[in-house]
Symmetry: C2
Subunit: 393 residues, 2 copies
């Protein structure tokens, strides 16, 4: 397989946009990515889109062709990929495979979701279609319930104090204050997080990610075909590793729930492909659909020992500027930047590329040279991991 790089990125500000259609958000973020790449549209040979549930939320399937029409990409083949919250990360992986295989030189890959126009209980139900619906959601195991069970088991197993779990959203909120694209700009503290509204014990409001409208895009290109004027700008970021892991859909089908097999498998493959280890990672965008998920993810990715992910967050070893850990969710994460489900995996890549280009402003991780994105789907049923490096490093 040949080497592939990200040459352009774009995203909408994340938020609540009842007036914006799916195609309006696609147009905004897609045009930004193409302009950022500095290429002619005619170079784009295919479009890969991540979208979780446009059909239930917006009566809109076939979001690949929708994107082509919105962006004026006539006669360009398109596809939509869905794996619940990992839709964006897996769309990116399929696009990467197609370019690496030699089928295309330059591909546009994006994600989009529109959610905030629907009533809250309908959104919860639409998201719950990513459980095994008849056995789980229909019997009350929506996602907050599923991850509450996971959190309960984890806290029992590792005796994690509630304060450690609460320190996760406190940091996400602090990071989001530095990200102009973030949906939520609001400082919180541990006491406020713990005492917020109970959602599903032990998870309170601030343990749960946001409902968000948004889109994010990337332009990827085979390294041998990067236009010289694009290469000269020194903003090209290489895709060094890609991994895809899986597990059963149901919570009860999994061999363990205090660690996720899908993440471990994807991480193993991505690290091997990139020829790096966890300690080499400068920053990681990990899938914090719930605070407990971030704790487990940072352990499964090898950043911290099992049972110590909460402590690491509590001690600031996941913060921007820390010197004895790794910067986690510098963007604010799903919790505070926002979680437009199908776009999330691409928005994570947007942050990774921005950091590796040293364009992250106040939230910049100094000397960042390797970044990782981890995008988890369903109750840890699917995981897409990518590792990025500065060009030539």
């Amino acid at each position: 397989m040949r080497n592939v790089s990200v040459i352009g990125i774009g995203e909408t500000k994340m938020g609540s946009y009842p007036e914006k259609t799916l195609d309006a958000m696609i147009l905004e973020a897609g045009e930004k990515a193409i302009a950022d790449a500095g290429i002619e549209k005619s170079l784009i040979e295919a479009v890969y889109m991540g979208n979780f549930n446009g059909s239930q939320l917006c009566n809109q399937s076939q979001v690949g062709a929708l994107a082509c029409e919105a962006l004026g990409l006539s006669d360009v083949p398109s596809i939509r990929v869905e794996a619940a919250c990992a839709s964006g990360g897996l769309a990116f992986r399929q696009a990467y495979i197609a370019v690496a295989a030699g089928l295309y030189k330059c591909v546009l890959v994006g994600g989009v979701e529109k959610m905030t126009h629907c009533a809250g209980d309908f959104v919860t139900q639409a998201i719950a279609s990513a459980t095994k619906y008849d056995e789980e959601a229909a019997r009350g195991v929506t996602f907050p319930a599923a991850f509450a069970l996971i959190a309960t088991r984890y806290m029992y197993t590792y005796k994690m104090p509630r304060e450690h779990l609460a320190s996760v959203p406190v940091q996400s909120h602090a990071n989001a204050l530095l990200n102009p694209d973030a949906q939520m700009h609001k400082e919180i503290n541990i006491e406020k997080a713990i005492n917020s509204q109970m959602i599903a014990f032990p998870l309170t409001l601030y343990d749960c990610s946001l409902v968000t409208d948004g889109a994010a895009f990337a332009v990827i290109c085979a390294q041998d075909f990067i236009p010289s004027e694009v290469r000269k700008q020194n903003r090209v970021i290489d895709i060094a590793g890609s991994g895809h892991g899986g597990d059963y859909l149901t919570l009860s089908g999994k061999s363990q729930i205090t660690s996720f097999n899908a993440t471990k498998q994807a991480a193993k493959d991505a690290y091997a492909m990139a020829n790096v280890k966890a300690r080499d990672i400068s920053l990681a965008e990990v899938h914090d659909c719930f605070s407990i998920t971030q704790v487990i993810n940072t352990e499964d990715l090898g950043f911290f020992e099992a049972g110590t992910g909460g402590l690491a967050a509590f001690e600031g070893r996941t913060a921007i500027g820390n010197t004895n850990g790794v910067a986690i969710n510098t963007s604010g994460g799903l919790k505070s930047k926002g979680h437009p489900i199908g776009a999330t995996g691409i928005s994570q890549i947007y942050e990774a590329v921005t950091q590796l280009r040293y364009e992250a402003g106040q939230r910049q991780v100094k000397n960042a040279n390797i970044a990782l994105t981890q995008n988890l789907g369903g109750t840890a049923a699917t995981c897409a991991i990518h590792i990025f490096k500065r060009m030539g490093e």
Copy 2:
């Protein structure tokens, strides 16, 4: 890219199964394909699933992980691909690319849809999510309406007699009588087809494909890794070509509607990759969502001149056993075998492989050595084409 073959196939009988869940159909067809391949399940490294709209029709997203659980494929990475009615064909293409690229040696690819348990008008609306919903379906342009407009324009442009159009379903019904997996076993004639219930002028009931529950699977394998005991059975079929074409989602956005750009582009790429021409094809499963679509498809694929596809069907040059054309939809097609949307693309491949193995019984095309499948999504917004050859030919 390395060479890849189909080593196993399986499908459910197509029909109406209100009592069967998605996972029950996945289990039935998936196990058949794995047994047909004669391999251990442990060889399967990834699962690619085509599913159009499980979320609206069954409250079920993330059908990739659902399939892994149903089939007992623990810790196997999975993905769902959606491009309306082309979901199955595109899932197959992504699986093919991943194996050809060298990422996996052996992959299970399937499709599934469950539709008949829903009320007819709800099914029409769920399918209509594959139009540009706010501009088309919400204003009355559901799929029967869209293809009625296409048929009207085509018949005006080419002066095609109504009898020619009606001869398409007459042949599909005749072929389905020879296919035990077909949903409909019923002989019709041209008079009956023309005088059936009006759906959307000029399309009557028999011009429209069926609403169907069903699943279909294939096991694909890199040629260098086909187990010797599998190879010995002489039932391995090579994937010789793959093409993916696209066009705008809307009817009004297309530069033409009496011919489909998406098909022409996919056909050009697939023929080039397989190094064959239209006249070399022994049989083709083409996407007859409506009778007019089959007429146009057989022209876009290069089997007949523009404007003569209906005449060719009328004259029997698409029938099994004809000597001056090509056998079309020997399975009975979407019209009579059935159209379980996300499974259709894989079920087309099931028929192609069955024919090339000389296992098609009464509907066998003599000396079949090259087969083509064409799977169209939405109002011709996406097209996946594959070409298959007998091993070593």
